[in-house]
Structure formats: structure tokens, C-alpha cells
Amino acid sequence: MAKVKGDILIDIEKCKGCELCAVACPQDSLELSRKINSKGYHYIVKIEDNCTGCTNCALVCPDGIIKVYRKTEKKKERVATISNVTGDITVTVSS
């Protein structure tokens, strides 16, 4: 398996299973789960560990529920499209 350079966190409780992220992912890392969340939607899950952190999935996600992480050798400035974040990254399930 390729060296992992990226990863994502999906707030699956808010996922509506539209699969647009899956289509957008150049790595084919994403797929719909057989299971459903409490809203009744099949949600998206990572099926491969080959994420490059390209942010494509997050860019097209209509529900804005994907966080993208990327580890690079030389830490670059954040790209223009990204906002400053300082908050906690744990994903909580809304009750």
C-alpha cells in the first residue's frame, strides 16, 4: 500500500449518502456504507487507505462535512481555499 499522505474525517451523522464525494475522489477511496445513520441515510465511508488529501471530496460535498488532512514533507502554506481553524477536531454525533 502506498505511503499515506492524506486522510479525511466525515461527519457521518450528517452524511446524506449522495456519493458526490465518491465520484470526485481521484483515488476511488470512498464508498457508500451498507449501514445507515440515524437520519436513515447510507453514509459514505473510506474503503481504501490511499487518500492524498487532495480535498476534492470536501469541495464537492454539499453538506460540508468532510475535513481533509494532508501530511507533506515540507509544510506549505495553506491553499487559498482554506480557512483558519483552531478548534477541536473530534467529530460528534448530533443527538
Partner: protein
């Protein structure tokens, strides 16, 4: 009951990769602050969500949350104010640009934008749209063209394609009876008051980036008091097109975009070469 594993458990099992790089240091993308952390009421895959996020991102990047006033339409995005952490007004159907005019005129130093669907902006609101544009109000209009009345359950919009089925064109839009789809964006681009006019989409990452750039331009030109910016976003409506979200995006590419080609329609002279 062995199938009924608690959802919470699955959650974490699926997000942990071999080497955990999900640390703050490595974060490259997350929901921007001005987009309120709640589930939006939109159908799965609906383009409204991305459009909202892009506006929120631009507001945050420009740091103008405290100076921005948005106007929501009547249409699926009527609840926009539930998702945007800015001051907003929900205007009567079709009148968002008039409401935005009112706001901007009495608060010329604030950033004002309206966000309107195709029914709202190009059917009932045509008069307000044309005149707001013609006056060159120094605001941004974001125009969500999904070729249908989403909110009310899929009736024909002015932008519905020829032959396209809707609940009020069950046999397909007959241009002999209903006329051709209205390219309001090309129309208003003619008006001298319109400074910047472009058509974008949010169906893939490239287009999303372009759409964001367009919205960013709209706010910047407003800062420079250049007049009206108009950003059309061609989107899908999976529910009323009666397709799944993925297919709807394909259909959009194949059917909507040839009719509503993406790209700038009017750009400031100096910037054309950009």
C-alpha cells in the same frame, strides 16, 4: 438484533487510518466558520449546499462577517439564514434584489448579496432583477439555476430546458406554448450597470474552485464600488429531476451546460486577460 450495531461505534472505526495524520497541524480543509454547523435541509446531493459554503468561505477569507448582510429568496434556499452565521433577511418570492437594494442604499458601506433561485430571480422577480442590475446596485447577486422550481415540488422554471419534464410540463416543455428557456444571465449582462457577470457550476472540484473565485470577485468589486456583480451557478435538483445525485450531475453536464455554457459573460475590461 445483531445487525443493529450502534452508529456511533462505526463512526470511529471508519475514520481511523493506519497512520493517524488527522491532527490540527495537517488540517487542510474543514467547514468554514461562517457556515453554521448543522444539517442543512437540502436533499442529498443538492448544489445549494456547496453554494452556501462557498459564500461562507469567501466571507471568512475576506473577514467581513461583521459587515455582510445577505438576502435569502423564497425557494429551497429560503432557510439559508439557518446556515449562514451572518445577518440575513428572507425576502418575498422574487423580491430579494429589491430588498438587497433597500439594504445597500441605507447601508452603503456594508457588503450585501442576494441569493436567488431561477424561479425567484427569472420568473416572478424578473422586473426587480432587471432593474436592480440596470441601476448597477453595488451588490452581488448569486443566481442558482437548477432549471426547476425545487421548493414547490418540481414545476417548470423559466430556465427549464426544451422537452424537459416537470410537474407542470408532464409531456416535456413545449417551447411553442411555454417559450424557450430564458437566459437571464446573458440578458442582464447587456445592462451597463452590470460590472461583472459569469456563469459557474459546483458539480466538480474544478468548477467549485471557479465558482468560489467568481463569488470572491463579486465581493471584491463590491468593495471597490464597481456596481453589480452577477454570479450564476448552474446546479442540479436531484429530487425534482427524479435522479440520484450522481446521475443528476451527469445529466446537468450533458443537458444543462450546453444550453447554459460556463464561463465569463461580462468581465471588467482590464481583467479580461487574467
Amino acid at each position: 438484533m445483531n445487525e443493529k450495531t450502534m452508529i456511533e461505534e462505526q463512526h470511529f472505526s471508519e475514520i481511523i487510518s493506519e497512520e493517524n495524520i488527522c491532527t490540527n497541524d495537517n488540517l487542510v480543509f474543514e467547514r468554514t466558520e461562517t457556515l453554521i454547523d448543522t444539517t442543512m435541509h437540502y436533499c442529498p446531493g443538492c448544489g445549494h449546499g456547496v453554494a452556501h459554503r462557498l459564500i461562507a468561505e469567501v466571507i471568512d477569507e475576506l473577514g467581513i462577517q461583521n459587515k455582510t448582510i445577505g438576502v435569502a429568496p423564497v425557494g429551497c434556499s429560503v432557510f439559508m439564514y439557518n446556515y449562514m452565521n451572518i445577518d440575513m433577511t428572507e425576502a418575498p418570492h422574487g423580491r430579494a434584489s429589491a430588498a438587497a437594494t433597500g439594504i445597500k442604499r441605507v447601508m452603503p458601506d456594508k457588503y450585501v448579496f442576494s441569493y436567488q433561485g431561477d424561479g425567484d430571480l427569472a420568473a416572478i422577480g424578473t422586473g426587480e432583477t432587471i432593474h436592480t442590475c440596470n441601476r448597477g446596485e453595488n451588490i452581488l447577486i448569486v443566481f442558482i439555476n437548477n432549471g426547476i422550481y425545487g421548493m414547490t415540488g418540481g414545476q417548470m422554471a423559466p430556465t427549464t430546458l426544451p422537452g424537459m419534464k416537470s410537474t407542470t410540463t408532464p409531456h416535456g416543455r413545449d417551447v411553442e406554448i411555454m417559450g424557450n428557456p430564458l437566459k437571464i444571465t446573458e440578458l442582464i449582462a447587456q445592462l451597463p450597470g452590470v460590472y461583472y457577470c459569469t456563469r459557474t457550476a459546483v458539480n466538480n472540484p474544478v468548477n467549485v474552485r471557479k465558482a468560489k473565485k467568481a463569488i470572491m470577485n463579486g465581493f471584491k468589486y463590491q468593495e471597490l464600488k464597481k456596481g453589480l456583480s452577477f454570479v450564476e451557478i448552474v446546479t442540479n435538483c436531484p429530487s425534482n429531476w427524479k435522479m440520484n445525485p450522481v446521475d443528476s450531475n451527469v445529466w446537468m453536464e450533458e443537458n444543462m451546460l450546453p444550453f447554459y455554457p460556463l464561463g465569463d459573460i461580462k468581465v471588467p475590461k482590464a481583467e479580461k486577460g487574467e
